[in-house]
Symmetry: C2
Subunit: 159 residues, 2 copies
């Protein structure tokens, strides 16, 4: 998959630099970069494959197994959410992604006995967001909901 | 894998007939029996592969992927636990098994936002119990703990 080109790379770079969730996400991707391919890349390029237009989504076939790179991207997204929740609450979070070869499944984040994120995954083959703003907004929403749940049920999260 | 022969088949059959968890487990296995292989088998024989002696465990190699039949057996075990908890509490339970090809991972059962069973899996290749009694005792313990958790945190299980 080629890296998408943005219409305004400077604005993108600025948006990422000021967004805690996107910075965390770039860090999660870099943590998997065992051969240092991304070492000299800007965060903007590291995150470029998370942006998939509606038109491009339609072109991605959903037959066959989910591409391992896409799976790792989905996992990185939820790991970034878990890491952000951990930083805010101090509670250790576990992540499990369970996706069938048909692209359906679960993404789960829990702490103690509290499920802080519990989402059904559909069309995993076509995972992606229309813009950096939408990617950040979706991540931040899940982080906020998770933190709220932990604050509401601390006893369950501590089990 | 050949089916283990019991030293006392009649006592085994009686034990299973009187044990709700083992009957549920046999039913879970039968639900996967798409070709009707087990249709005429007694529950005792359907459950025979769950019994693995210590000596036999040592003989099972842990290299390579976990045998699909073993994976299905582990999944059936946790599905039987989920079904037993459902019957007792009326709460819908979801099961996810996430095992790496090295035989490590998680088995998770949750209801709403409450994780009722959360177990790390090790040596999945060698999954099995020494006796029907131990199989039933392990399942029943997890069922009881799960029911207790739901009774303690009904609000979380209803989320």
């Amino acid at each position: 998959m080629t890296t998408a080109t943005s219409t305004n790379p400077e604005a993108d770079a600025l948006f990422i630099a000021e967004n805690a969730f996107l910075k965390e996400l770039a860090q999660q991707i870099r943590a998997q970069d065992h051969y240092g391919v991304f070492r000299t890349w800007e965060d903007r390029l590291v995150l470029a494959n998370f942006i998939v237009s509606k038109k491009r989504k339609r072109e991605i076939p959903v037959n066959g197994d989910v591409d391992p790179a896409t799976q790792l991207r989905i996992l990185s997204f939820y790991r970034a959410i878990a890491a952000s929740i951990e930083k805010e609450t101090g509670k250790l979070c576990q992540v499990v992604l369970d996706i069938s070869h048909e692209g359906f499944g679960w993404s789960l984040i829990w702490s103690g006995r509290l499920m802080v994120v519990c989402r059904t995954v559909r069309d995993a083959h076509r995972f992606g967001f229309e813009s950096l703003e939408k990617l950040a907004a979706d991540g931040e929403k899940l982080v906020e909901n998770g933190i709220e749940l932990i604050q509401r049920f601390p006893e369950v999260a501590n089990l």
